[in-house]
């Protein structure tokens, strides 16, 4: 990103100059266009102005010329009116013929009327010789000689004669007029003329000098052509004395050719006037005269508006061009400013980027997990990173500048295999695993990747990257060892593993599996080919197991089945385990499992099963025999209980009846015998009862349940209530737990132990009997402690045997069965019984009942 910007900025300079050129061209073109447009506008303006001026001049010239003609016609008319008047002609003729100081009034009146109406300067009646007969108004000033000559000629020829403009030879005043001959009506004699004199300064010149339109320089020139000469006939605007004095000189006004006069059309032209000033002019010949009316206007005035416009256009042009130029320059400035600012910004950015890149590279280099070293062409280390120093165990500061083969040498140093030499020779990047010697002499296994260090296309050294792979090599070795271990242990255990593709239905297996199946690499590895190995008797079950349960219901495969080994056809037992794995989408991706050859074990199991079955049979037989014996014993004891007691009862009963009936008749001896019989019978009864109990305790089925020992102890004490009535017994019953056991049997235990305690404390004045329980090692230890006569521990072993007694019957009655019963019951509950005593110093009987939890 930044690079692109940078290069854009760098490429902007030529683009900029192109742009400048284009800009200049645009500027020039725009200026040229404005100039052309201005010029065209100016020319058009000028042409139209000139045309307008010419039209104006031409119409003025025409107007003046026509008015001059009209004026002449008016002169003619006046002359005709007067001279053709018969009475006037008569009076005038008489007057000429008879000059008098008092002319006829009519004559003067007529002439005065004409003179005043026609604005004539003087109406003069002349005779044939040109002498003044009458002048109206009266004036003695003689006429100009040239006029008199013309009058004579006119009179003689009786033709009307125009007296052209002329300067009076008498007064020098300019005049113009008409000579009209007078013919005597009676005699037809030419008597003279009437001179209609006009003062042009009063009538003609002002008229000519008036300009019908506004204008500062407009002027009308009345010009007469005489040969090649042109004569100004009127006073001019800029030269009041020009009349009759100003003639055309070389370079002066050059009038239009003669044709103009003929056609009567004004002709425009441009040139210098008598002042040497540029003018536009038109010329018009006045018909019936040698006069030409020339109207002129100063070129400056005519062109003033056009020029003014021109100047405006030019100014506009200059302003717009300047503005354009300025704006272009300013735009250029701004562009340049922006360009240089951008360039400077990019330069700053690129400097930052470079610095950042440098810092990044520096940091990467410094903190790289691999050791890095740069070496120049002379084998000098020019740079290393911290990792390298640590790996090579050299001081970071001392690494730079040292020879590479001194610091971290390998077996190729100094040989043609030397990586550095090969890379300098142009081999390109190299990679190698090698042991390097550290500074402290220890060795480290490295994966070295060496690259040529290229600057400006030249290999200036080598960059080496060292990766400590000691651990990796060890791990690889470990891995290899594990793999070997796995293979060998699988072989030893005859376990092969497989991986099955449930979609493709193909599988691959380990070498051991091949050995188990007896197949080689050529054997097809599909589900069908595997089923072909399975023993025909197991095939259906196993196929269902694999296809429906394992692959269909995704249940783990765990079956023993037989195969028929392909290589030798031997039937082998295998145990197959397999479990599907699933991909992220939850569909089965593979099935992994093991197959173990368990033939030997299986055969052994089959043998064990056979032996087991035999034993079962034996046990069943024995049990049946035992049960038979048991039931016999049951019948026997029932018999004993029922039938043996009956005669005893009879003996007892009838001895008693005999005693009660015959006691008075018997002597002391007889009574004594009866007592002995009764006592013996009673003893026999007790013996039978005890024996029956003993038998029952050993045989009856245990009815286990929750037994409250505290309650049971109180219950067991009940039969002794009468025996205790005459004694002092301190009975201390501690807290007793519930146990799980046969209530009836446990009651026998308590009855016997409590009975013994009561019995053997009989000699004591105060009997102390304490019952308690303590808890240890998952069992309840109950005890009955008394302060009775005790016994000699020497005979403790005999204590729990049947019919074993440590005391004589005469001392303490008893059958020697009670403790045997206790021992049996406790044993049947999984407990233990023992006693601690010393002769004449009390006894303590213990028995244990395991905790319910341990028993369940």
């Amino acid at each position: 990103m930044r690079d692109t910007e940078l290069s854009n900025a760098l490429h902007d300079a030529p683009r900029e100059s192109r742009f400048e050129r284009a800009l200049i061209w645009v500027l020039v073109a725009a200026t040229a266009a404005i100039a052309v447009a201005g010029f065209v506008f100016y020319v058009t303006q000028r042409a139209s102005v000139v045309a307008e001026a010419n039209r104006q001049l031409s119409s003025i010239a025409n107007l003046k010329a026509e008015e001059l003609v009209s004026w002449r016609q008016g002169l003619d008319r006046d002359a005709f009116m007067l001279t053709e008047n018969h009475a006037f002609a008569v009076l005038a003729s008489s007057m000429v013929d008879h000059p008098s100081e008092t002319p006829p009034e009519d004559l003067v009146g007529w002439m005065k009327a004409i003179q005043q109406a026609g604005s004539y300067d003087r109406l003069v009646l002349l005779d044939g010789a040109g002498r003044v007969v009458l002048s109206v108004p009266a004036d003695k000033t003689p006429l100009s000689a040239s006029t008199i000559r013309l009058a004579v000629k006119a009179s003689a020829s009786a033709s009307e004669t125009f007296v052209d403009l002329h300067r009076s030879s008498v007064t020098g005043h300019p005049y113009v007029g008409l000579l009209d001959p007078i013919v005597d009506p009676a005699t037809k004699r030419h008597v003279g003329t009437v001179y209609f004199r006009v003062d042009p300064t009063k009538f003609l010149y002002p008229y000519l000098s008036t300009w019908p339109v506004p204008g500062k320089t407009g002027q009308t020139l009345l010009v007469e052509r005489r040969g090649n000469q042109e004569l100004i006939l009127n006073p001019l605007r800029y030269d009041p004395n020009a009349a009759f004095t100003l003639r055309s000189a070389p370079g002066g006004i050059h009038l239009a050719p003669q044709a103009t006069a003929v056609t009567g059309h004004a002709r425009a032209y441009e040139g210098l006037d008598y002042r040497g000033v540029d003018v536009f002019s038109t010329e018009r010949a006045v018909p019936g005269s040698s006069w030409h009316v020339v109207t002129t206007m100063d070129r400056n005035e005519v062109l003033a508006p056009a020029n003014e416009h021109g100047w405006q256009v030019l100014l506009l042009m200059i302003i717009s061009t300047t503005a354009l130029g300025l704006s272009i320059v300013s735009a250029q400035r701004r562009r340049e400013t922006a360009f240089y600012r951008e360039k400077s910004r990019l330069a700053e950015d690129s400097r930052h980027a470079l610095q950042k890149a440098y810092d990044e590279i520096e940091q990467v280099f410094k903190t790289a997990a691999d050791g890095m070293r740069i070496i120049d062409r002379d084998f000098n280390t020019t740079r290393v990173n911290d990792t390298f120093a640590e790996m090579a165990r050299i001081d970071f500061g001392k690494a730079v500048g040292a020879k590479c083969y001194d610091d971290f040498s390998g077996r190729w140093c100094g040989t043609p295999e030397c990586t550095l030499q090969r890379i300098l020779a142009g081999s390109g990047p190299l990679s190698d695993v090698i042991e390097k010697r550290r500074a402290d002499g220890s060795m480290v296994s490295c994966l070295i990747t060496a690259q040529p260090f290229v600057i400006d296309g030249e290999i200036v050294g080598v960059i080496e990257d060292f990766r400590d792979i000691t651990d990796r090599l060890a791990a690889e070795a470990q891995l290899e060892e594990n793999a070997t271990l796995l293979v060998e242990s699988q072989r030893a255990a005859a376990v092969g593993h497989y991986s099955l593709d449930p979609v493709a239905g193909t599988w691959t297996g380990s070498a051991v599996l091949d050995e188990i199946f007896g197949i080689d690499d050529a054997y097809e590895r599909t589900i069908d080919s595997w089923l072909a190995i399975v023993h025909p008797d197991d095939r259906n079950v196993i196929e269902t197991c694999m296809r429906n349960h394992a692959l269909g219901d995704c249940l783990p495969m765990d079956r023993d089945y037989r195969i028929q080994r392909i290589s030798d056809g031997e039937v082998r037992w295998v145990h197959g385990l397999g479990r599907l794995t699933f991909d992220a989408a939850g569909s089965p991706s593979a099935m992994f499992g093991v197959i173990q050859d368990i033939t030997e074990r299986k055969l052994a199991e089959i043998e064990v099963q056979r032996v087991h079955d035999e034993l079962e049979q034996i046990v069943a037989d024995r049990t049946a025999q035992l049960e038979a014996a048991n039931s016999e014993l049951e019948a026997f004891s029932y018999s004993v209980s029922h039938d043996l007691r009956a005669p005893l009862r009879h003996v007892s009963g009838f001895v008693d009846l005999l005693g009660s009936r015959e006691r008075e008749r018997l002597d002391e001896k007889g009574t004594h015998y009866l007592d002995i019989i009764s006592d013996s019978v009673r003893q026999m009864g007790v013996l039978i009862d005890d024996l029956l109990q003993f038998s029952r305790v050993g045989r009856t089925e245990m009815k286990r349940g929750d037994v409250d020992m505290a309650e049971l102890v109180l219950e067991a004490l009940k039969p002794f209530e009468s025996a205790l009535r005459d004694r002092v017994v301190e009975l201390d019953i501690g807290e007793l737990p519930h146990v799980r056991g046969d209530r009836g049997l446990l009651r026998v235990v308590w009855e016997n132990l409590l009975g013994n305690a009561i019995k053997y404390t009989r000699p004591r004045k105060t009997a102390h009997i304490s019952v308690g329980c303590r808890h240890e090692e998952g069992q309840s230890v109950f005890f009955v402690k008394d302060n009775g006569v005790g016994f000699d521990m020497t005979y403790a072993g005999k204590l729990f045997g049947v019919f074993q007694r440590l005391h004589s019957s005469s001392e303490f009655e008893g059958t020697g069965i009670g403790l045997a019963n206790v021992s049996r019951v406790v044993a049947r509950h999984g407990g233990r019984v023992w006693a601690e005593a010393s002769l004449d110093d009390g006894a303590t009987f213990y028995f244990t009942i395991p905790d319910p939890r341990r028993h369940e």
Partner: protein, 151 residues
């Protein structure tokens, strides 16, 4: 209409036991109320007035003292019959047995015996035990209304 006899029916095959039992009952002046039969069949015949007892006067004994071990039909069988017979099931039955066998005791109670008395070896004790029977007799002498109506 059931007539309540003030008799005690004693089922005992052993004549010595019969004699001793009668002696014991005599202690409570109950001896002359006793009818003795010798096995289970005779018990049922007596109760149902069949066989040799078909001519006996009608009416139920106050209580049946029943030995377990008897020929032909033992006491437990008799008890079962009585409890299943709609005419007899209400009869008070006391087992008098030499057997202190727990199984017999349980069986007796399961079959609905009213009391179970083990015949002790000592005659004095036996007399004490028979005292219980006397109590039964005293109570059962008061005939329940339903029994007297049914007879």
């Amino acid at each position: 209409m059931k007539i309540s006899l003030r008799t005690i029916l004693l089922a005992e095959d052993n004549p010595k036991d019969v004699e001793l039992t009668l002696e014991a009952l005599a202690e409570y002046n109950l001896a002359n109320q006793v009818v003795v039969v010798h096995d289970g069949v005779e018990v049922l015949e007596y109760l149902r007035r069949e066989g040799q007892f078909r001519l006996r006067a009608p009416g139920m004994p106050a209580v049946l003292l029943l030995d377990i071990k008897m020929p032909r039909m033992d006491g437990l069988e008799v008890l079962r019959e009585i409890r299943h017979d709609p005419d007899l099931h209400a009869l008070p039955v006391v087992i008098l047995s030499s057997s202190a066998q727990e199984s017999d005791l349980i069986a007796g109670y399961e079959l609905g015996v009213n009391s179970y008395v083990v015949k002790p070896v000592d005659f004095k004790e036996f007399v004490d035990a028979v005292h219980v029977l006397g109590q039964y007799w005293a109570i059962l002498n008061e005939v329940p209304p339903d029994v007297s109506e049914d007879a």
